[in-house]
Every structure is written in C-alpha cells, then in structure tokens.
C-alpha cells in the first residue's frame, strides 16, 4: 500500500512542478524571439521606440528566466529523485538529448548575461542585436531537446530489451522517434504564440488603462502579427499531432475523443458528458470530422477504445483538456486575425475596447491551452511512463517521505509565484514607461508627438 501511495505522491509532485515550470519554460523559450524581433525592427527602421520595447521586455524576461532556472533544476533533479527506476532505463537510451539540453541552456544563459549587460556598449549598429540570436536559438534548442525526451516516452524506439537489461542502443534513433516531429513543432509554435499573446495582452491592458499612443500602437502591432503567425502554425502543428496520434497512439486520440467504437467516418465530439455506461450526452457531434482530422479522409477508419485492452485505456476526462486546448487556441487565432483585418480595413478600429479586452483575456487562455495540452499529453499516456515497456507505477520511487517533499515544494512554488509577481509589478511600477520615455526622449511627449 505504501509503495502505491508513493507512486501517487510522486505523480502529484511531478505534475505540480511541471504545471508551474511550463509557464516559465514557455515564456523562456518564446519571448526571446519577440525581443529579438523588436530590437531588429528598431535598428532597421532607426526607430528607438522599438529598441526601448526590447529593453523593457528584457528586464521582465530576465526575472522569469531566473525563476525558470530554479523550476527547471527542480524538474531535472526530480526526475532522478522520484523516478529512479524509469531514469535507469531511460538514461541508457534517451540521456543524450537531456545532456544536450544542458548545453543549449548553458549557451542561452551565457549570451543572455552578455545581452542584458551590454546595451549601448557597442559601436556597430547591429552588434548588440547579434547577441540576442544565441538566446533565441539556445531557448528554442532547449525546448527541442526536452521535447524529444517526452516524445520518446510516447513512442519509444532505438533500443532492444532483454528482460530489464538493455542490450543495444541507438541514441539518434531514440531521439528521432515518430512522436518527435509533431511534438517539437507544436511545442515551439505554441510557445512563440503564447509569448506573443502575453506581451500583446500587457500592451492592450496599458492602452485600456492609460489611453493610446504611438509607442503602444507599435508594440501591439508587432506582438499581434507574431501572435497571428504562430497561432496559425500552432493550429497546423495541432493537426499534425492529431494525425500522428491516429497512426501511432490511437488509444490517446480515442480517449480524448470518446471514440468507443472503431468505425469509418467517425464523428468529432465536442464537450458533453459521459453516463456511467459510457454513453455520451449533450455533446456536439461534427459528422465525419474525426476521420478527416485523423487521416485527411472523411471516410477513413479510426481506431476506437474497443480495440484497446481495458487496463490500457487512459482516463477519459482528458476529453475536456483536449477540447479546451483546441477552443482556446482557436480563440487566439480569431482575435489576432480580427486585429490584423481591422488594421487594414479602415472602417473598423483595431483599438476598440472590446477587441483590446479580448486581447487581454487571450493571454491567460493561451497559457491555459498549453497547460491543458500538456495534461492531455501526459495523462493520455497513462498507464505508461514508457509506452509499451514500463508502467508509471514501476518507474516511481518507494519512499515514506515523499509527502514531506511534496509539502515543501508546494510552499516553495506558492512563494516563488507570489514573489515573482510582486517583483515584476514593482519593477515596472518603479520605472514606468512614461518616466523612462522622458529620460530617453526629452524632446517628445510620451508616445512620440513633438512637444
């Protein structure tokens, strides 16, 4: 019984760390692209307002990274502390990308340090901007490497097992497993989309609060364009992921879609609820759409849960996670597209209050979509930790102390979460944009008009 408890607790602690870490990881990987873009546009157009934007974003970003280093170290170590048996097997096969991830982060940290301390230190116009490139690449590569490890847990390959002993290994094949392309694509695009959405939301919030001006307009235009581009890519990546699942992990897709019976021309089911006999009530049925999403053909056959062993069916509540992820993602596309359309369609005002409010709401929704997407991905793999090879219960530690550790980390995350919010708020309150503007551009009013 005690071993079982420690499995549950190990899962809870890992989930808690990941749910917390993913916020910082997403921003950590995504925001450098926006900073890099803003500084580039600023240098290119010789418009110091964009450079100021990059500067101000960087200050907050550094604090997020500081917390991300902490939570990233936590999950990195917890893998070994909570899942020693799993890591013993996985370490033989999938250690390579985790090892390389350290290098990628190292690379990013070195150049981030250089980037934040060298504004105005170089003569060349582009020199400082070049320092942002390794930060973007390092952050992106970290995400790529970590995602291959997660992909490996879903579709393990590249090794041969004899009992509990691994007899041969191909580390490259393990990294480039079938789940890798769609997952990497999805993680990167959604991270850029969400980072864009967050910075856009902050800008929209300030416009609503303090009124509009050129500076905010430029910020909102840049962030909304990036959000739109990457939300479209995210949708494509989501589609790729669904097709991957249909082919390689049909039980996950079937559980997410409450698709009980293998059939041709399968319906896509939105929301609803399950009775005790697994009958679906109150759901929206979109005819044949699941078949289309799975294989690009409205009449293709989609594997249902009837083809899956009863003890290998993932929890069916992931259906809601899946639906919410899709809906929130679609909301992001809609909002950013409306903004861009209004930008060109002179009759409409892209800065109207309701659209700005929607842009503010879009940021938490995008982050929730990422959280729900990960919960769907992880819970949808149950009961496996290494699909087809090792169950979650076999991989965990058995220790009577996990609940203390859980409590300690809960306190740590609550404190870190509170404090990071406070520090960010204080940072920007202490040095508001109006003040920094007057210091840097004494000849103009805040926003860019001549005095």
């Amino acid at each position: 019984m005690f071993a079982y408890d420690s499995v549950i607790l190990a899962r809870m602690l890992t989930s808690m760390t990941l749910v917390f870490h993913i916020i910082f990881a997403t921003i950590g990987a995504g925001v450098p692209l926006l900073i890099c873009a803003a500084e580039y546009v600023g240098i290119r157009k010789r418009d110091p307002k964009y450079v100021l934007l990059a500067r101000r974003w960087t200050r907050g970003y550094v604090i997020i990274v500081a917390v991300g280093v902490v939570t990233g170290t936590a999950i990195g170590l917890q893998l070994f502390l909570l899942w020693p048996t799993f890591m013993q097997i996985a370490g033989h096969v999938i250690g390579l990308p985790l090892f390389m991830e350290t290098f990628a982060f190292f690379f990013e940290a070195i150049f981030l340090g250089a980037y934040i301390y060298t504004w105005d230190r170089f003569k060349g116009r582009y020199t400082h901007w070049y320092l942002s490139l390794p930060v973007v690449i390092g952050g992106g590569m970290s995400a790529v490497f970590i995602t291959t490890v997660n992909a490996f847990m879903n579709t393990p390959q590249g090794f041969t097992l004899d009992g509990r002993t691994i007899t041969s290994v191909d580390p490259i094949m393990a990294m480039l497993n079938p789940a890798t392309p769609s997952k990497v694509f999805h993680v990167l695009t959604s991270s850029y989309m969400t980072s864009g959405a967050i910075l856009a939301a902050i800008t929209a919030f300030f416009i609503l609060k303090y009124g509009n001006n050129t500076y905010y307009k430029k910020a909102l235009k840049l962030t909304m364009i990036i959000t739109l581009i990457f939300s479209i890519f995210t949708a494509i990546a989501g589609d790729t992921s669904a097709k991957f699942l249909a082919n390689y992990q049909p039980e996950k897709l079937a559980a997410a879609e409450w698709h009980f019976k293998t059939e041709k021309g399968a319906d896509l089911i939105l929301f609803g609820r399950l009775t005790e006999d697994n009958e679906i009530q109150g759901a929206i049925h979109l005819p044949k759409l699941l078949s289309f999403l799975s294989f690009g053909d409205f009449n293709s056959e989609v594997t249902g849960l009837d083809k899956v062993d009863a003890d290998l069916i993932p929890p069916l509540w992931i259906h809601y996670m899946f639906d919410l992820m899709v809906i929130f993602g679609a909301f992001g596309i809609l909002i950013s597209m409306l903004f861009i359309v209004f930008m060109f369609w002179k009759k409409r005002d892209q800065y109207n209050k309701w659209l700005l409010r929607a842009i503010v709401v879009n940021a938490p929704l995008a982050m929730l979509a990422i959280e729900f997407g990960w919960i769907f991905a992880e819970v949808g793999r149950q009961p496996w930790i290494l699909r087809g090879y090792m169950r979650v219960a076999e991989g965990a530690i058995s220790s009577p102390y996990v609940h203390y550790v859980f409590a300690a980390f809960l306190i740590l995350y609550v404190l870190l979460g509170t404090f990071v919010t406070l520090v960010l708020v204080r940072l920007y309150k202490k040095n508001p944009i109006q003040k920094e503007w007057e210091m840097r551009f004494p000849d103009t009013l805040f926003g860019g008009d001549q005095k």
């Binding site: 902490v70 899942w83 020693p84 250690g95 250089a114 060298t118 580390p171 980390f409 740590l412 990071v420």
Partner: protein
Amino acid sequence: MSYEILGLSALWFFLFAYLIIASIDFGAGFFAYYALQTKKDHILNRLIARYLSPVWEITNVFFIFFFYGLAFFFPDAGYYFGSAMLIPGSIVLLLIGIRGSFYAFENYGSRKSKLYTFLYGASGLFIPAAIATGLTISEGGFLRHENGSVYLRYKELLTNPFSWAVVFLAVVSVLYISAHFLTYYANKAGDEPARKLLRSYALFWAAPQIIASLTAFIFISRQNPAHYNNMLDLWWMFGLSVLFFLIGIYLVYRESHYGLSFICVMLQFFFALLGYGIGHMPYLLYNEIQVTADATLPAMGTALLIAFAGGLLMLIPSLILVMRMFLFDAEYVKGKK
C-alpha cells in the same frame, strides 16, 4: 582510452569546476550577510553584486551538468543516488529556489531586505553541506536494499562522524575559496577597503580549512579503509595540495600576487580532488557501482562524448567572450561600465 574513463574524466573536471565557481558564489553570499551584520556591508556589497550578477545562472548549469553526466554515463549510479538522495536532493532544490529568487529580488528587482540576505547567506552554506552527502554516501555503508529498492540509512548518515567531517570540510572550503577569490577581485577592482577586509577573511579561514581536510582524510580510514589505502599510495598528490595551500596563504599574507595565490588555491583543490577521485577507483559507489562494469552501452557513451566535445567547442569561445566582457574587463571590474 575507453569511453567510460573519458566520460568520467570529463565529469571529474566538471565537479572540480563547480567546486571552484560555486564556492565563490556560495561564500560571497555568506560574506554579504556577515558584512551586513557587522555593518561592513557598504564595503563589500557592490563588489559582490558586480561579480555575481552576470555569472550565477552559469554556476547552476555546472551542477546540472555534473549530475546529468553522472546519471547518463552511469545510469545505475543515477538510480542509486536518485533513490537515496530524495531528502538531501530536495533540500538542495529548495535552497536553490531561495537563492534563485534572491538574485531576481535583490539584483533585478533591486530592493534590499535583511531577511533575504540572511537566507541567501545561509543557503550558501547549506547547499554545499547537502550536496556533500553525495560524496559521503559514495564511500559505501549508507544504503540499504529492501524489496528491490534502495534506501538511505538516515540514522547511520546523521550519527556517523565521517559524514559530519565531510559537511564541515565542504562549508569551510566554500568560505576559504570564496575569500581568496574575492580578495583577488577586490584588488583588481582597486577597492582598497574591500581588499583588506576580504584578505583578513582569507587568512582567517586557512587554518580551519586545512584542519577540516585532515579530519576528513583520517575519517575515511575508518569509514572505507580500501579508499584510504589507495589515497595513501597517491600521497604525493596530497603533498602537492598542501604545498600549494602554503604558497597561496603565504602570498596573501605577503599582500602580493593575489592572482597567483588564487591559482594556488585552485591547484590545492585540483590535486586534493584528483587524489581523492583516483583513489576512489574502481568504484563510483563503494561496493555497489563500478566505473567499467556499470557504464552505459558503448553507443550511448560515444554519443555522449561527441555531444560533449561539440558542446565544449561551442561553449568555450562563448565563455571566453563573456569573461572578457565582465570578469577581466578592467573597466567593468572597476565599475566604470
């Protein structure tokens, strides 16, 4: 040379590098707190902040590097240490959490708080103490097998004088290394009051440092005679270590060549850790895990080494670049940039 020996050498090197740079960081935290308590903080804090701000994330990565490398070159070691270190490892993580937020709070959010300086200083002593339990456990005799799992014998660990000797050594070494480096750095920055104060710290911690080293050495003979005898065969390495210790202290005492004196401190730890490490062979964890027998498969080992070499090719030039910008840019050190 076989891939497991190459891998182990790389890991050893990372451990050594972490020992040095993390000690500087941890010790600086303690000195910052101590200076605040004794109302000398105005002398030290600017210097410490100037050195630490650009490098702290890098310090942390060295740590992750070491344990990832250990666990992937020797997955069984990852399993044993992972199973055993739940509590000490989690303590390290919680303390790293406190430190990480200190940097954000103090350096980026820029507000001084006494409580935070205390937590920052204290965590700098507790983290090495908790990490050092890994070295203690590696001597053998602290693990218990039950129902196919590995458990740490907490009572044994907490009541054994050897484990306390290691903790003592870790803490004292942190302060000793840090004081030496900061003296050198203050001297370079031309900060006379800070240099004087830090020099007195460096001299103060010398005697405890050598006493702690000898104590730990003697206790190994009781905990693990085989390891002790191996180390005795390498007596000249420890002799060199002591020699560099004396030169380093002498130079600081003479108030000259601070850079050279810090190099002597590094060489002191280099030879001590090398003698300790070679004497530890062939076991990573005594009587449980051997270097050759328990290494990962050749394909993985080779891939890791290639990744490692490629990573270094990328990192070393970048590190040199950053160091030239901050640590060794005289203008920056003096605070003019």
